[in-house]
Point group: C2
Chain length 463, copies 2
C-alpha cells in the first residue's frame, strides 16, 4: 500500500487535479491520498490557507465577512465546475466554510487552527467527490474519524504515539481510496490543532507509518530535490537518493521541499519517501530511505543555507572553571523561551547562535540585562545577520579532506568563516557566514562538491 | 619595579641559584623575587614538593618520618653549603620542616596544603639569607605578612580581590629586595591554601599586579615559548611576542611553560610578562602583553595539543525543538560535577567533549543511567581518546582562508577531523582529532603556518 500526498500547487485548479486523478489511476497501490489546501494558480494568486487566515481575522474584528467568505468558496466552486460536479457535492463545503464564522472556540488560537485547517478539510471532501465522479471509488475521512489525535498545541501540534494503533485499524482493509485532509488532527477534547505550516507532509508521513506503507509519495511541483537552492545556484543537479539523516539536516537548514518534522514518522517506521512532480510523474524524483549506496565520489549530497541568525558573544575569564556557567546562561535563555542552534565555547569565550526571529528589541534588552547581572561578563556582544551554510552527506565525518575541500571552496569564494559546527552530526558540517557572503559560499561549495570543479587556491601557495 | 619569579629548575642547586643572584644584581628594578621550591637537579631527581607530599602521607599513616624528613632538609642544606651559609641561617628551615609533623590541621586537605607550601616557604627563607650573604639586601616575606589572602579551597585557591590593596601597601616602598614564596596564600582563618600545581607563576602575577610592576619576569629553563611542543615538532621556532589572549589559549591547550591562571592578574593589571631562561638571561625570551604588532604573514602564533578527551554523543529526534534539552543535560553533568570543554550540537545530535580524567567507570555508568532515564536518547555513545589540537593567533577569525589552510594541512597529513570548534574565541580554532593521529596533525599545521611550507593538496584536484 502506498500513501500519496499532494501539495497545494498540485491541487490549485481543475487541470492540476486531473493530473492527480491520472496518477492515482495509474497505480492501484495508491490507497491513501493526503491533500493540502488549494495553492496558488499563478504567482500573484493567494493560497486558500492565507485567505482563511484573513477570514478568521475578519471574524475576530467583527467586520463584514461576505467578501472573504465568497472568495474562498469560489476557489472550491471553480474546481467543482471544471469537473462538472453536481451542486449537491459542493453543499457540505459551502456549509463548512460558512459555519466557521459562528462557531465558538475555547480560545483565539483554536479558532485560528480550525479556520486554517478548513482549507485542507474541505479540499479533501471535494477531491473525494471528484474521484467518485471520475470512477475512482473514494471516501473522505475526517482525521477525527480515523483517530488522528495530537498534542494540545493549536498551531504546532505533534502526533500522540498512541494514535498509531487506531489509525492502523481504521485505515487498513478499506475497499475505497481514502482521501484524508493534511495539516491537522484533533486534541483529546476534540478541538482542531494544526501541525506547523506546511504540515500536510506530516499527516502523510503519519498515515504511511500507521499502515506500514511500502512507499510514501510526496507529490509537489519540482522534479526532484536539488543539491542546492536554485535561487542561489543556477540549474543545480537533482538528487537521486538521500538517507533520512541527510534529508533531515537539509530540510532543517533551508530545504523547504519536504517538511522537516514529516521525516520523523517515516524514520520511525522506516517508510521510503519519494518526492515526485505531479506535472512529470514519470520522472524518478528523489528517493529518501534509511540507507543508500554510498558513492565515494559524491561525498556531499546537498548544500543548504538559512539566514536570520544572531550570535550572542560572551567573554569571561575563568568561565571554564565554573561547572555551572553554561547552565546559568541556558537557564536565562530558557526562562525567556529562547532556543539556541549552536554554541561554540572556548576557554574564556562562548558564542550562542540563535534564530533572530526569536528576538525583539525588548527581549534583546532583557537578555543584556540578565546576562550582565547574572554572569558579569568581561565582554558581551550581540551580532546579527549570520547565515548558516551546511554541507550534508553520509560519511562526511570520516572522509579525510572534506573539511579542507569545504573551507578551501569558501576561501576561494573570498569569504571568511565566522563559525564552524562540526562534530555534532555525523552527516553534516555547518559554517557560520556573514549573510552578505552566504550565497558566494554556497556557490563555492556547490562548484567543489557537486559540480566537482578543481580547487586550486592552495596550489604552490604558502600561508 | 619588576617582579621576577624563578621556577624550580632555576633554584635546584647552588650553581643555579648563583645565576639567579647574578640576574637580580644585574637590574636594580628587580625588587620582588618570587621563588618556587627546589626542583630536579637531574632527570632522575625528585622535586622537593614531591618529597613533601610523601612526607605528609608518611605522617598520616603514622610511619617513621626520619628518612623522608632528612631527605628534604638535606636539599636545603646542600644549597646552604654551596654558599657557605652559617648554620644559624638553616635553623628556621629545619625547624619549619620538622614541626610540620606535629602540627594540627582542620582537615587532611589543609595538612597537605601546608606540607606542599613548605617547599616554597622554606626556599624563600633560604634565598633571602643567601641574597644577604651575597650583599643583596633582602628580606623574606610571609604571604600572611603581606596580606596574600585567598579563597578557602586548600588545593585550588584563588586570590581574594580585596587582597590587592593590602599587598600594594605592604610591598611598595621597601628598601630591601622582597623574597616571597610562590604557590600559596592564607585563607581568612589563617590556614595555608595553595594554588593549583605550578602556582608560583600565579603568586608572581598577583604581586606584579598589586604593585603595578613595569614587567613580570618569569624565569624558567627554556629560552622562550616555542610555537609548538618540541616533543612533537623538532626544533620549533621561538615566539617573540604573544598577546595575553593568545597565551591564555595556548597554555590552556597544553603549553605548560606558564601557568594558565597566572595570566589573569597580569591581564587585569595589563602587566607585560616576559618568559626568560635563567641559564641564558641575555636572550630576549617571549614577551606577552596586551597588544602586539600583527604580522600578516604570521597569522598563527602557536600550535597546541592536549590529549585525554572523551566525547559523549547523543542523538534524539526533535531534540532541537525542546528549549530546555541542553539544560537538562548540563544539569546531569553539573550534578555529577563534570565540566565540559566543547559542545557541538546539531538538529538531532549533540556531542559533549569532556576531559577524560573526570570520568571513572562508575561515573560513566552513572552518566549512562541518568541520560537514559532523563533524556531517552535514540542513540548514545561514549567515545574516548580524543585530542584537541588548537591553532592560536590574533586575527585568525577574519583572515580569509585560515580554516582552509588549517584543514588542508591536516588532510595532507592523512588525518580526518572529528570535531571543529571555531567561532567561540576570536583568536583560536580547535580541532578534535583521534589521539593516534594528533601528532601528525600538529606537524602538518606547523609546516603550513609556522614553517610556511606550501600546501599542494588541492592543486588540480577535484573533490
Amino acid at each position: 500500500m502506498k500513501v500519496a500526498k499532494f501539495g497545494g500547487s498540485s491541487l490549485a485548479n481543475g487541470a492540476q487535479i486531473q493530473k492527480v486523478i491520472d496518477i492515482i489511476k495509474s497505480d492501484s497501490n495508491r490507497r491513501i491520498v493526503v491533500v493540502s489546501a488549494p495553492g496558488k494558480r499563478k504567482d500573484t494568486d493567494t493560497k486558500v490557507t492565507d485567505l482563511l487566515i484573513k477570514y478568521c481575522n475578519t471574524v475576530s474584528q467583527g467586520e463584514d465577512i461576505t467578501g472573504i467568505q465568497n472568495k474562498i468558496i469560489k476557489r472550491y466552486q471553480a474546481i467543482a465546475g471544471h469537473f462538472g460536479l453536481p451542486d449537491t457535492a459542493l453543499e457540505p463545503i459551502v456549509e463548512g466554510i460558512t459555519k466557521l464564522a459562528t462557531q465558538v472556540f475555547p480560545s483565539r488560537a483554536y479558532q485560528m487552527a480550525a479556520f486554517k485547517a478548513a482549507g485542507e478539510n474541505n479540499n479533501a471532501k471535494l477531491i473525494a467527490a471528484i474521484f467518485n465522479h471520475q470512477q475512482i471509488p473514494a471516501e473522505y475521512l475526517d482525521p477525527k474519524t480515523i483517530g488522528l489525535t495530537v498534542t494540545d498545541v493549536p498551531d504546532d501540534a505533534q502526533i500522540l504515539p498512541s494514535s498509531y494503533e487506531k489509525l492502523a485499524q481504521t485505515l487498513t482493509q478499506r475497499t475505497k481510496v481514502a482521501v484524508v485532509p493534511g495539516f491537522f488532527g484533533y486534541n483529546t477534547s476534540g478541538e482542531v490543532c494544526t501541525f506547523s505550516r506546511g504540515g500536510s507532509d506530516v499527516t502523510g508521513a503519519i498515515l504511511a507509518r500507521a499502515v506500514a506503507a511500502t512507499e510514501y509519495e510526496n507529490f509537489t511541483d519540482v522534479d526532484a530535490i536539488y543539491a542546492a537552492n536554485p535561487n542561489i545556484v543556477p540549474n543545480p543537479k537533482k538528487i537521486t537518493n538521500l538517507t533520512f539523516r541527510e534529508m533531515r539536516e537539509l530540510s532543517y537548514a533551508g530545504f523547504s521541499v519536504f517538511h522537516d518534522e514529516a521525516l520523523i514518522p517515516a524514520i520511525e517506521g522506516k517508510i521510503p519517501v519519494v518526492v515526485k512532480n505531479t506535472n512529470h510523474p514519470s520522472l524518478p524524483g528523489t528517493l529518501i530511505s534509511e540507507h543508500k549506496k554510498i558513492n565515494h565520489d559524491d561525498v556531499v549530497a546537498g548544500i543548504a543555507s538559512d539566514s536570520g541568525f544572531t550570535g550572542i558573544y560572551i567573554r569571561k575569564y575563568l568561565m571554564n572553571k565554573q561547572v555551572g556557567f553554561t547552565l546559568k546562561l541556558l537557564e536565562i535563555l530558557a526562562k525567556l523561551n529562547i532556543s539556541y542552534e549552536h554554541m561554540p565555547s572556548g576557554i574564556d569565550d562562548l558564542t550562542i547562535i540563535i534564530r533572530s526571529n526569536q528576538l525583539t528589541p525588548e527581549l534583546e534588552t532583557q537578555i543584556r540585562a540578565e546576562i550582565e547581572s547574572e554572569i558579569h561578563p568581561d565582554d558581551f556582544q550581540i551580532q546579527h545577520n549570520y547565515t548558516m551554510v551546511m554541507i550534508v552527506g553520509e560519511g562526511i565525518q570520516d572522509r579525510v579532506g572534506t573539511m579542507a575541500a569545504a573551507t578551501a571552496s569558501i576561501a576561494q569564494a573570498g569569504v571568511s568563516i565566522v563559525m564552524v559546527n562540526h562534530g555534532a552530526s555525523p552527516v553534516s558540517i555547518t559554517f557560520g557566514i556573514r549573510t552578505a557572503d552566504a550565497d558566494a559560499a554556497v556557490q563555492g561549495l556547490y562548484d567543489t562538491f557537486i559540480a566537482h570543479q578543481p580547487i586550486e587556491i592552495f596550489a604552490e601557495k604558502t600561508f
